[in-house]
């Protein structure tokens, strides 16, 4: 199994697509153990033969429709009206938009691309520090997987038998804390900055109302999805399908920025994007079968318990390890492979599985902000036309803020568990 791990890391570093890095390293081990190779096909099929993960292509399609249907601009307009009059307003707008985009899109890179392309030009025009601005936007992109609906949370829940509804709710408070931290960081940065950050225009209630009405149909999506799941109206897959229908109606009939003729192209694009995620799920399913059959969780758990029984130590060690893994690995494959291994160990240390699962998602999301696999950082600096190095130098404040919220959430399980326990108590658990 150690060979499998080394091979996997080597393939990633050599630039193999992650879907193949997982598949090849699992296949080599299967051949070496003399297991019939039909297990590869069988596990790949089984990974996709699931009604629950159908939420993923539907959320992706809803996101694509909203992206092309003019949703991002409405959310930016609303954020400008809401906080555009405060010092350093555009930085705050980026943060608030980050929450909004996270709530409609479900993935980090998509949010970052939408915010960067709509806002960086204006920031540059007003003389903001473009590197800091890009860094803050990249940091806001990490809210995507934490704030529901979130594809990473769907993968977490299905790979560990947690309830999707509870996982979604578990991300709400940590996600808002991350956002609040980023807003504070942007505000203090602007206070110390020059005149570029002082705003001339005042607050206008009528503009706020107008932009809120324009953005309202967009916010119907997270409302229906999260509300419908909590209320037991829909399963997560059904809620995602309904989200597609609402997104289509809003884009075609309300905003009218796309036509019926654009739909096939959007469906095909969404199919390719979801195939990327779901092929990783398929090959990771071969990998995780291997991990389970070789009793890796028990081995790692036994090893850790020999060293210590302290839950605090376990959480800190895992936090550090996951941050490191998140730097090299894409989050969904990391969750697929690691969550089934680590969750039972966390429980054996007396850690709440939902708390640990959400921590995993947060840890791995932060990895999107750091090279070599820093997807939101790459997207934001790419659109800002700055090198990754230049933006990285200004990253200390936003990254530090997010790490602080992560530590806070690590030591206060209630930040994660209070809301789900209130709205979807475990005894009558629904939603998965």
């Amino acid at each position: 199994m150690i060979l499998t791990g080394v091979l996997f890391l080597a393939l990633i570093v050599l630039g193999a697509p992650i879907v193949f890095a997982l598949g090849v390293s699992a296949a080599v081990t299967i051949v070496e153990l003399g297991v019939p190779i039909s297990i590869i096909a069988q596990r790949m099929f089984a990974g996709l033969d699931s009604f629950t993960i159908m939420a993923i292509p539907f959320f992706v399609l809803a996101g694509v429709i909203m992206e092309r249907g003019g949703i991002a601009r409405r959310i930016v307009d609303f954020s400008v009206a809401l906080v555009g009059w405060i010092t350093g307003s555009l930085l705050l707008v980026a943060g608030v938009t980050g929450i909004g985009m996270a709530a409609v899109s479900g993935s980090g890179a998509a949010s970052t691309a939408a915010i960067s392309s709509t806002m960086l030009g204006e920031m540059r025009g007003r003389g903001y520090n473009i590197d800091f601005s890009a860094g803050l936007i990249a940091a806001a992109g990490t809210l995507g997987p934490v704030i529901p609906p979130s594809i990473m949370m769907v993968v977490l829940a299905t790979s560990t038998n947690l309830s999707i509804g509870r996982a979604f709710l578990g991300g709400v408070v940590p996600g808002l804390l991350m956002a609040a931290g980023l807003l504070a960081a942007g505000y203090f940065y602007a206070l110390r900055g020059g005149d570029a950050y002082r705003e001339a225009t005042g607050f206008s209630p009528s503009r706020l109302l107008r932009s809120f009405r324009a953005a309202l149909p967009a916010f119907a999506i997270p409302g229906v999805v999260v509300g419908g799941i909590i209320g037991g109206l829909f399963t997560p897959t059904e809620a995602a399908a309904v989200a597609v229908v609402i997104a289509l109606l809003v884009a075609l009939l309300v905003y009218r920025e796309v036509t019926l003729g654009d739909v096939p192209a959007m469906v095909l694009w969404a199919a390719s994007l979801s195939a990327v995620i779901m092929m990783v799920i398929a090959t990771a399913n071969v990998f995780s079968w291997l991990i389970a059959s070789e009793n890796v969780p028990a081995a790692i758990g036994g090893f850790l318990h020999e060293k210590t029984d302290s839950a605090t130590f376990f959480l800190l060690a895992m936090g550090a390890a996951l941050l490191l893994i998140g730097m090299f690995m894409e989050g969904i494959s990391a969750i697929m492979v690691l969550a089934p291994v680590l969750l039972p160990i966390a429980v054996s240390f007396g850690v709440d599985p939902l708390h640990f699962g959400v921590l995993m998602v947060m840890n791995l999301s932060l990895g999107m902000l750091t090279p070599p696999y820093g997807i939101t950082l790459y997207v934001a600096s790419g659109i800002a036309n700055r090198s990754v190095m230049q933006v990285s130098r200004e990253l200390a404040l936003p990254l530090g803020t997010l790490l602080f919220v992560l530590l806070l959430t690590t030591f206060l399980p209630g930040v994660v568990t209070a809301l789900p326990n209130l709205l979807i108590p475990l005894a009558g658990a629904s939603g998965s």
């Binding site: 190779i37 309904v242 694009w269 994007l273």
Partner: protein, 178 residues
């Protein structure tokens, strides 16, 4: 003569891609329709067990076929920041080796799916009693098409020119969709 062959090959590639795209669209549309019928059906209490099962089969087909389309569009996630630091010649050689290893994996998966198909001739699905080979067939067909696009992507691959900006540019090119 040679040109005719190339022309024919290009045409069959176009036809294949168009066929795969149409199938992917149909399967995706079916998934959506079936799940919506299920939502409506629950409130009017007509039998809808078949909807979830058939939608799941459509999903399996959709994903295995779209995997190749995603390869054509260069969407499959990989860490290229480190590889991009190498000189161009070495990068190309490395790409070739990595691609061969990936093809080896695909060939194993396809061979394994033949065994699966044999099982599928006997086994039927739990709800609709459909023969399972109807679903299993997606695996060899989809993976063969993925292999084809993988090989083609190698031909399309150009090592980035020396000089800054490549890493960021690829990041931005690939990012917006995800």
């Amino acid at each position: 003569m040679m040109r005719r062959v190339v022309f024919q090959l290009e045409r069959s590639l176009r036809v294949t891609r168009a066929a795969v795209s149409s199938l992917v669209f149909l399967f995706f549309a079916y998934m959506l329709a079936a799940v919506l019928v299920q939502v409506v059906g629950r409130y009017f209490a007509f039998s809808i067990d078949w909807a979830a099962e058939s939608a799941t089969f459509a999903q399996v087909w959709m994903v295995f076929l779209a995997a190749g389309l995603a390869m054509r569009d260069g969407l499959h996630v990989r860490v290229d920041a480190l590889v991009n630091l190498l000189p161009g010649q070495l990068q190309r050689a490395l790409m070739l080796v990595v691609t061969l290893v990936c093809l080896w994996f695909l060939s194993l998966a396809v061979r394994g799916s033949v065994d699966l198909l044999r099982v599928g001739l006997i086994e039927t699905s739990p709800v609709m009693r459909l023969p399972m080979w109807l679903a299993f067939l997606s695996l060899p067909l989809g993976l063969l098409y993925l292999g084809l696009e993988l090989v083609l992507s190698l031909g399309a691959y150009r090592a980035p020119q020396d000089g800054g900006g490549t890493t960021e540019a690829t990041g931005a090119d690939r990012g917006p969709g995800r």
